[in-house]
């Protein structure tokens, strides 16, 4: 249980414990619950009337542009983390600070552009 991957082994063990809690709960549930399905009971809920059409209905997706914005900015933000741990180390100082403002300016400019293009509102 030592070394870099050793610490992640603990995480994997805990994940398996989580899966076991879920499976165990469902098993107890299965032992204790009744099971009397009827066609009416298995109908999709739609305010008590018979469902109209199917559930995966076609609808207009709004804010889909946000997905692009998110992907772009999140990829940027990921690069922040390794940089954040060393930017104030001796020998970097002002250089990295200026770089940070360049980085922030890029993100801010991107948001301003999206704002001007009116994709941040109800489209």
């Amino acid at each position: 249980m030592s070394g870099y991957f050793g610490s992640y082994a603990v995480v994997v063990v805990l994940f398996l414990v989580g899966v076991a809690i879920f499976a165990g709960g469902l098993f107890v549930n299965r032992m204790l619950r009744p099971s009397r399905p009827t066609p009416e009971k298995l109908t999709t809920y739609e305010c008590g009337v018979d469902p109209v059409g199917e559930g995966w209905a076609q609808s207009q997706i709004r804010y889909y542009v946000f997905t692009y914005l998110y992907v772009v900015f999140a990829v940027d933000a990921v690069f922040l983390f390794p940089w954040a741990t060393v930017f104030a180390a001796p020998g970097y100082g002002m250089t990295t600070l200026v770089e940070m403002f360049v980085f922030l300016a890029f993100i801010a400019l991107g948001i301003l552009y999206a704002w001007r293009k009116r994709v941040l509102g109800w489209t």
Binding site: S7, V17, G18, T44, W56, T85, F101
Partner: protein, 317 residues
């Protein structure tokens, strides 16, 4: 052998905390919300002020029939509660409650936490789509839109703390913390906490589950035990968010007189109380207000905090 035993004890504590703390927060919500609304809340179960109400709920839920609609995508529908719940358990592995008191101290702890917490939201999206119900699909899409918008301010605010501490390890961040971080990182703390609330879909950001219009959204078709797991995931989420805010912005275990773990728990429950308080106080935000708030308020604030953190850190170095 001793090392394996040590880790086993830590994992048992984590699992116990994961199963117990959400119930305490849930009971706290019952009672605090009731008294804020001038009623009593549960009073019967267990005798003393209804303390056993959630245990009684659990006993009821575990005996209820498991109804999966005929139209649903069975497998995805069945495992969605686990996808919503298990990530919060996994996140708890790195949260320190005292110096050296975490199940494991990962170098990239902060990064790990953000990545795994994002997975929890997928549970709601999967549930929404697999239910094959119009309300659920709407709720799932809203949950997805909310994740997209609020993940960015959350990540940026967390990056600000990483810059201040110069490390990604949660242990390291809590150790580096000094009292003057409170005013210095105040904007970041606000952004992180609010964006976290939105990721949990707690009021006033509960548009995806809006019970009065889309009938719990992704959870419309869920009943019995699987529904209970979704509820447990919500409260586990509150515990994890409060604990993370404590560790990142409030100094974790640091405090006078009392031992570290007690301070951590005090801060976590104070923040959990704020979560409940906010739920009682604010009306639900409309979908467009919610999106606008993320992109035009929280993201610029988070960028401002990054600039502030960077300047102060370099000038004082």
């Amino acid at each position: 052998m001793a090392e394996v035993l040590d880790i086993a004890v830590r994992l048992v504590v984590v699992v116990a905390a994961f199963l117990l703390l959400p119930l305490i927060v849930g009971q706290m919500e019952h009672k605090a919300m009731a008294h804020m609304q001038a009623r009593l809340g549960p009073m019967y179960a267990g005798g003393f002020h209804g303390w056993a109400q959630l245990l009684a709920d659990g006993v009821k839920f575990v005996q209820k029939e498991d109804v999966i609609p005929a139209a649903a995508d069975r497998w995805i529908f069945a495992i969605a509660p686990a996808v919503a719940l298990v990530p919060y358990l996994v996140v708890m592995v790195v949260i320190p409650v005292g110096p050296g008191l975490a199940a494991v101290d990962l170098d990239a702890g902060l990064f790990f936490v953000l990545a795994v917490m994002g997975v929890g939201v997928l549970g709601a999206i999967m549930a929404g789509w697999a239910s094959a119900n119009k309300y659920s699909v709407l709720g799932g899409i809203r949950a997805a839109a909310q994740l997209m918008s609020y993940e960015l301010p959350l990540v940026l605010a967390a990056a600000s703390v990483a810059m201040a501490a110069g490390t990604l390890s949660l242990q390291g961040i809590a150790e580096q913390w000094r009292w003057w971080w409170l005013p210095w990182q105040a904007i970041g703390a606000f952004v992180f906490f609010v964006a976290g609330l939105a990721e949990l879909r707690r009021p006033p950001f509960d548009m995806p589950i809006a019970e009065s219009e889309i009938i719990m959204g992704p959870m419309t078709e869920y009943a019995g035990f699987r529904f209970a797991l979704f509820m447990l995931a919500e409260y586990a989420g509150i515990v994890v968010l409060s604990a993370l805010t404590t560790v990142l912005f409030l100094g974790g275990w640091q405090g006078p007189l009392l031992p570290g773990p007690v301070w951590t728990l005090l801060k976590v429950f104070a923040l959990a109380f704020v979560v409940i308080w906010v739920r009682v106080s604010y009306p639900r935000m409309r979908e467009d207000q919610l999106q606008k708030f993320a992109w035009t308020v929280l993201v610029p604030l988070a960028l401002l905090q990054l600039a502030l953190t960077g300047v102060v850190r370099v000038l004082t170095a």
